[in-house]
């Protein structure tokens, strides 16, 4: 039985050799060497649109050796909002989560800054629109990366035939396909006259006055056309101003020409209104037109998406932005940022836009003239003006420019549409304004 003794010299030599071998050895990547990444994407309305984002992420995952899990979370029943709230409470969840409009600000303290990602993307894709900056930035910090998936403009979608026949307006001439708008005459006065004419003809404009986002978005754009805001960007109350009074007067006139049940409308009501052929115009992204293409092709053939009418303070259109945020407690932030860069490349954005039939709308200035909007039909060019390719209107969101945390309350409590309804039902102007002021004071609690 021989017993070998390890001398001090031998021990030092063996350790040095092992260390050298470990340091110099080539790094062999395993199948999922870069770890795991869980993503919560918004579940798209458009059938098949999710596949484009899945394909892009899977291609990235294969290249980067990351194990990816994607959950598509629907916004029906606010399941996405519940997920955001639950993950924020639990400080655990997806590494990337799709967040609509106000939620990056609402969760600002828990989100990983994205300036390093955004700097490169802005250089490459151009400046994001003002609404995205308002919703996605706080004190110079990008709270999340703007997502093209789910982002949309809720502009007018008119019936070419009904508008021509009853209001004498040729929307295709105002907004010709492939050319800049010639819509100087398309203002609030013309709009109101058209609303009256179509109402008389039995095909009223389908603009809701309920408490869901479609209704609030339209009201927001009209208020902004008058320069009316309930709270300014510094957080001061500006309810009792002439601009707000003018906006309310305008809405009172408009409500007389809207369907009598508009106060009970939700986000599906306007879609049904257009598809059923009962109205000459709605304010919506092209999803209603896409449904009409399938269910009522004769209606779809007559649809034309175009810009908002202009008011005394300009032409505003509601832009609803979606974002991809990464929690500060995420376990794989670098991988998350890497995949977000990939998803924001022009070719990826175009692929997702095409898959959504032109519904998705990137916020970057260089990406508003993709082929998909020029080619979608019937009729050809129906979506040409949807992405605001000639910057003909200012993209905004209802309740802006109030500080986002106050604006979110004004928006979700539907203060604007409630004001319009109250005033149109005969409440005194000053009483309506006093009510709105009281509401806004309450929204300012921190």
């Amino acid at each position: 039985m021989s017993r070998r003794k390890l001398s001090r010299r031998q021990f030092v030599a063996a350790t040095a050799l092992t260390s050298a071998a470990l340091v110099t050895a080539p790094y062999v990547r395993g199948a999922h060497a870069a770890g795991k990444l869980s993503i919560g994407f918004w579940d798209h309305w458009v059938p098949g649109a999710n596949k484009a984002s899945t394909d892009i992420v899977n291609a990235w995952a294969e290249k980067e050796k990351v194990e990816v899990q994607i959950d598509y979370i629907p916004s029906q029943g606010n399941k996405n909002l519940l997920t955001i709230a639950a993950e924020a409470q639990a400080k655990s969840g997806h590494d990337i989560l799709a967040m609509p409009t106000w939620w990056p600000h609402a969760q600002a303290e828990l989100l990983e800054p994205m300036n390093d990602v955004m700097d490169g993307l802005i250089k490459q894709n151009g400046e994001p629109n003002g609404t995205v900056k308002y919703l996605g930035q706080s004190k110079g910090k990008w709270l999340a990366v703007p997502a093209s998936v789910g982002s949309q403009i809720k502009g007018p979608c008119s019936r070419i035939d009904l508008m021509k026949q009853h209001a004498g307006i040729d929307v295709q001439a105002l907004y010709p396909a492939g050319a800049p708008p010639k819509a100087d005459s398309w203002n609030l006065e013309t709009f109101l006259k058209a609303a009256e004419a179509c109402h008389k003809a039995g095909v009223p404009f389908g603009i809701g006055l309920g408490e869901t986002s479609d209704n609030v978005d339209s009201a927001g754009a009209f208020f902004q056309a008058f320069g009316a805001a309930l709270v300014d960007e510094k957080g001061n109350l500006t309810v009792k101003t002439d601009a707000v009074r003018q906006a309310l007067e305008f809405y009172k006139k408009l409500i007389a020409f809207l369907p009598p049940d508009a106060g009970a409308w939700d986000d599906s009501s306007n879609n049904k209104w257009l598809v059923s052929g009962r109205g000459a115009m709605i304010m919506n992204p092209p999803s209603a037109w896409a449904v009409a293409k399938r269910d009522a092709p004769q209606v779809a053939e007559q649809c034309w998406t175009h810009g908002f009418p202009s008011g005394p303070k300009g032409r505003f259109a509601p832009y609803l932005a979606y974002f991809w945020g990464t929690w500060s407690f995420s376990k794989n932030k670098e991988a998350a940022k890497s995949v977000l860069r990939t998803l924001s490349q022009p070719d990826a954005i175009e692929k997702m836009c095409v898959a959504s039939g032109g519904y998705d709308l990137p916020c970057y200035e260089k990406l508003t003239t993709l082929k998909v909007w020029q080619e979608e039909a019937p009729p050809k060019g129906t979506l040409y003006h949807y992405p605001n390719p000639h910057n003909h209107q200012t993209l905004s969101i209802a309740a802006a420019p109030a500080p986002p945390k106050i604006a979110q309350q004004i928006y979700t409590q539907a203060t604007l549409t409630k004001m319009c309804l109250r005033y149109s039902k005969g409440e005194a102007m000053e009483k309506t304004l006093a009510w709105a002021e009281g509401e806004c004071e309450g929204f300012m609690r921190s």
Binding site: T212, A264, G438
Partner: protein, 312 residues
Amino acid sequence: MADVVLHPDRAATSKTVRKRGGLHNMLKRKSTVAFLMALPLILLIAILVIYPAFYALHLATLNKSMQRFIGLSNFEFLFKRETFWLVVKQSCIFAITAVIFKAVLGFIIAHFVHNIPAKGQRKWRGMLLVPWVIPPAMSTLAWLWLFDPSYSAFNYTLSFFGIGPIPWTGDEMWARFSVILVNIWVGAPFFMIMYLAALKSVPDQLYEAAAIDGANWWQRIWYVTLPMMRNIIAITTLFSLIVTFANFDIVRILTAGGPLDHTHIFATWAFRIGIEGSDIPLGASVSLFMVPILAVAAIFILRDISKRGNEA
């Protein structure tokens, strides 16, 4: 003394035996077995009800960004809000009206079913329970289509009689009526089945005695049926009051609280503020506000039941 010296381990042995016997006896006790069998449920309730309840209490004491303890300031803030008092009023109108109608309808239908010959009764019982067994979210969706602002099936039918269109969900009063109606439709079968069970347990001799005394049908109901059903009426009313106060799905699906907040109840307004408005502490405060209201109702009703139990 000698015993102790001669058998030093005897005391310990007898103690162990007594201990074993004690454990054995305890396990043999019915109450212990009942407790052990109920333990999984108790744990489940502790995890899913008690913990969230205390967590909601904790949340209600935080500021909007949930970073600071502010005591009862959220409640103080709510008390100053016009909309909050509107919600309190509506929750009371909604719950009390719905429970009264559910109880009255349930009572009447239970009598009808009770009088159906036993052979055909089972079919009727099954059919009448359908609204209660369908998940409310699903049945309310069907009601939403019936009440649809633009394409209401009710309005379509009424138009043949020259009536309407009625703004079922577009007018404040009609919207309140609609949500209460659906709640009654969903909840009345529960009352019906409970009252039917109670009716079956009323001894026939009491009715026979009343008949001999010359009591008419109203006197039989007033002096025999109702006193015999008092406890079950109290319990079902309390239970339904709690469930109706805490209702969410019917209002959320049918009107989402509109128009002009006139159908919001505690749960829907708490959701609007807490989840949609990202103000979870205020939302928690709203939802907690129904606790004292229900606690007072529960104390009165349960005290009455136990008093009558003691009298019996």
